[in-house]
Symmetry: C2
Subunit: 329 residues, 2 copies
């Protein structure tokens, strides 16, 4: 049987209140009795029950994080960032994989609230209407990472300018025909916004946008591979590819290599995200770097500020991206 505060009170010959006082070291308690209590705790191997405590104090020191898929390259880094600062402030994290499935999202959101998390960090493609309602009625503060929505605090990068810069860069290298592989069509940022940046860059450079040069991918290696094959088998294939996800970009490189197309001489590629592997593959991948760890860390940091009623100088944080030139371009 798990032992509780009462047991140690008895053992130490004091009341449970003083035991409580020493474990929270609140108020003054005579050194001598404190010692007695500590001793009892030690002997009994007592550990306070955080659940009971939470019920009383009305917070749990835990936060929930909703992420599409932790096994997807992009997220472990940001989750790590979150967890590092969470643990600094003594929060634990519930990890929830939503697979971008709005049913799952809703469910997780509910249990997170039932479990009385102090805050929620949300990552995902887009916020469904139903989810929006949940957000509105949420009893815990919500932070968005990688996405923006209404007036919730968020940390993002400027995806549109990042994309524009990527394809501008490709164009500046002399490419007249640059193709693109996006994410799933319904994803407003990986597909929507980044494609918009791509279009704008083309326009600014007086190149015509050609729908047949952009392929809808699925964010994973395979769709990059297949997308690239499709593009590269065109009668007049593009000489450069902007791909809105590194894993897809690596798939695309693979396709090119297999087709005997030389990178970067015959085909230049720039990806997006700067996942860990981007710098490690051969040839290494040029890409737009998102500061993933920082996005997580900063997101969690603003959450702690909200939780501790600290002043928030900016609800909408947009971090710097960077164009990382490597061997693929």
């Amino acid at each position: 049987m798990r032992i509780n505060i009462k047991d140690v009170a008895k053992r130490a010959g004091v009341s449970i209140s003083t035991v409580s006082r020493v474990i929270n070291d609140s108020k003054a308690v005579r050194p001598k009795t404190k010692a007695k209590v500590l001793e009892a705790i030690e002997e009994l191997g007592y550990k306070p029950n955080a659940i009971a405590r939470s019920l009383k104090v009305r917070h749990t020191k835990t936060i929930g994080i909703m992420v599409p898929d932790i096994s997807n390259q992009f997220y472990p880094e940001v989750v790590r960032g979150i967890e590092d600062v969470a643990s600094m402030y003594e929060y634990n994290i519930f990890l929830c994989n939503t697979d971008l499935d709005s049913e799952k999202e809703l469910q997780y959101f509910d249990v997170l609230e039932e479990k009385q998390v102090d805050g929620i960090i949300y990552m995902g493609g887009n916020i469904s209407e139903e989810m929006g309602k949940r957000f509105k009625n949420a009893s815990a503060p919500i932070i968005l990472i990688g996405i923006d929505y209404e007036d919730y605090p968020s940390v993002t990068i400027d995806n549109i300018n990042a994309s524009k810069e990527a394809v501008n860069y490709l164009i500046s290298k002399g490419h007249k025909k640059v193709g693109m592989i996006t994410g799933k069509a319904h994803d407003p940022i990986i597909s929507g916004v980044r494609k918009e940046g791509y279009k704008q860059a083309l326009e600014e450079n007086n190149l015509t946008f050609d729908e047949s040069l952009v392929i809808e991918g699925g964010n994973r290696f395979k769709s990059g591979y297949e997308g690239a094959r499709q593009l590269l088998e065109l009668p007049e294939p593009p000489s450069a590819l902007f791909i809105s996800g590194d894993e897809m970009a690596i798939g695309a490189m693979r396709a090119a290599l297999e087709m005997g197309i030389k990178i970067p001489d015959e085909l230049a590629i720039v990806g997006f995200n700067n996942i860990d592997m981007a710098g490690k593959v051969f040839p290494s991948l040029s890409t737009i770097g998102q500061p993933m760890y920082e996005m997580g860390a900063i997101g969690m940091r603003v959450l702690t500020k909200i939780l501790h009623d600290e002043e928030l100088d900016d609800k909408k944080i947009v971090l710097n991206y960077s164009l990382i030139e490597r061997e693929s371009s």
Copy 2:
């Protein structure tokens, strides 16, 4: 103010017990009153407080998972496996990154217990003495993944035979001089056991073990890169490398490629783990495949069995590894 069971009781004009009964749909409750209650719940947007519930029922439907580093290639997969089956059984997971630091491990273990997790899944290099004590006194069942210890349930692969098979394979390809890059020296499995397999294979093939051909790495890309350079610059460099981690192996490939050494013609490499990227890099990496997702899923499955007092036919589960031949060998 968060609304509670009392509020809905009042609203529905019933007692809190009947409300409790409908939300747990235990016992019979007249359809009509049930409807009333449901309606009240709906109107009020009531969500049961799982903390209060946990305090009463003495379990939390959450488990803790301790992992060295979620941003390290190997773990996201297994965590995903864990989470998938956890969510099937309606458990949530606390994710803790220990960095293999025993201080952190101890701390996390304590808060996990204070937060009354129903079980703990532990992954890590080795179990310190202090940690062993914690295990012994733990009030929650513990499952080990990727490591074995005393009589705790564990799911692993046969690392020694896996390693042996890897280098046997290399030798069968005609290599007489095969080097190795291990993990950190103190890690009993990534360094200890896998190195042992390497030695045994050498021995079985009447090749002499040469300490200067094995380098202690650090599990990451960089140490693979540096280790390979070191080995490859030897007057008589090995023609094959067995590397006890794919990320290091990819680093090693990189080093070779930069040195103008052709893979696999001049240097064959086989790694360990079969991380996601192993099949995606160029050239693709031959490796020992650990069923990472399954290890997580199965580990969690046995935990649920323990939690539900189901029969456990085997405490020590060892899964099949597989030698995956790709382009690097």
